[in-house]
């Protein structure tokens, strides 16, 4: 029995798996947004930002999450984009 437990530990307690799966599915449930929508947003962000900075596209992460509202204490959905910058493009020189 003990060695079975040992192998089980790879994924941690099953409740953590449940919680992670649930969190992910709820983010999409709550906003009615599809993975396709996120891909479109991601594509557009890359296109626009690339004009100004050189970004690490493989490290780009766009996700829906929730955050506390500024007005009251309610939780509201937020679109969070984590965009690693390789270097700034010098655009000021032209002007």
């Amino acid at each position: 029995m003990d060695f079975l437990k040992f192998f089980n530990k790879d994924s941690g307690p099953s409740k953590n798996v449940a919680k992670e799966r649930l969190k992910l599915v709820l983010v999409h449930d709550r906003t009615n947004c599809s993975p396709h929508f996120l891909d479109m947003v991601k594509g557009d962000i890359i296109r626009i930002i690339s004009d100004y900075v050189e970004i690490d596209e493989s490290g780009l992460d766009v996700k829906l999450t929730k955050t506390k509202s500024d007005i009251d204490d309610t939780m509201i959905p937020a679109l969070v984009a984590n965009i690693p910058i390789k270097k700034m493009k010098d655009k000021s020189g032209g002007y």
Binding site: P13, S14, K15, A18, K19, L26
Partner: protein, 265 residues
């Protein structure tokens, strides 16, 4: 003027009806006048859980359609002072009542009772809309399973969209042994995900099955943990500040009981 509280969950089978029966009985034992309403038209169940199935003459749809007066359809539970049941119709369907009619019915009941508990059907369709129409407070019941929590989240969103703000959570059928092993989501996990306030936690308890078999709500059983949990929730509904049953303490009681009965090693 009483208070109308809808007990809802989204998912079926998580314990809405059991919760309604026990909280209704629990509130009546605290001395309040309580009406429990079976809003699950076509799938009547609250009557059998409460052990009142043999006394039904008229039902909710009869009242709405004017076949009888409200007082004629209310079944007095002779065991508990001040407790009344308004049964659902069994041969009609959910579309035989409108939210507007339910609002009026609930308001009429609020004139007569301190608390009106509405047992909501599963789902998010017409039956749900009817059940919440007249309520000003909502209790969301869930179990520590992914499917039930997901549905609870959806229901919370729909309640808030219907101006039923700040619903309260009851986590039903929690198994302390599994939570300890990390094989079941704990209370903090669920509150974290659903972001609503906790009203109570009801442990998974064989006493519920047994009491439902007999048609006697477990809330009246002094030795049952689930009964204690329901008594605490009933008190919290009335505004009393009752501390939550501590998981560790609960575990100790179980271990102690096991020891008494010679089951522990």
């Amino acid at each position: 003027m009483g208070e109308a509280i809808v007990i809802t969950s989204g998912k079926g089978g998580v314990g809405k009806t059991t919760t309604t029966a026990n909280l209704g009985t629990g509130l009546s034992q605290l001395g309040y006048k309580v009406a429990v309403v079976d809003a699950d038209i076509g799938l009547r169940n609250l009557d059998v859980v409460m052990g009142l199935e043999n006394r039904i003459v008229y039902d909710l749809v009869d009242v709405v359609e004017g076949v009888c007066r409200l007082k004629q359809a209310l079944i007095k539970d002779k065991r508990y002072e001040g407790l009344f049941l308004l049964p659902a119709a069994q041969t009609k369907d959910k579309n035989s009542v409108t939210p507007e009619q339910m609002r009026k019915l609930t308001n009429d009941l609020k004139e007569m009772f301190d608390y009106v508990l509405l047992d909501c059907p599963a789902g998010i369709e017409q039956g749900f809309k009817n059940a919440i129409a007249g309520a000003e407070k909502a209790i969301v019941v869930t179990t520590p399973e992914i499917s039930a929590v997901r549905d609870a989240d959806r229901i919370i969103g729909l309640l808030e969209a219907s101006e039923l703000r700040d619903p309260l959570l009851i986590v039903n059928r929690i198994r302390i042994d599994m939570v300890r092993k990390g094989d079941m989501m704990n209370i903090e996990d669920m509150i974290d995900i659903l972001a609503i306030d906790l009203l109570g936690v009801v442990p998974d308890d064989e006493a519920i099955v047994i009491s439902t078999n007999k048609g006697e709500p477990v809330v009246t059983e002094n030795n049952s943990l689930a009964g204690q949990a329901y008594r605490n929730i009933a008190k919290r509904i009335t505004g009393e500040n009752v501390p939550f049953i501590n998981m560790e303490v609960t575990e100790n009681i179980v271990t102690k009981l096991r020891k008494i009965f010679g089951l522990a090693k």
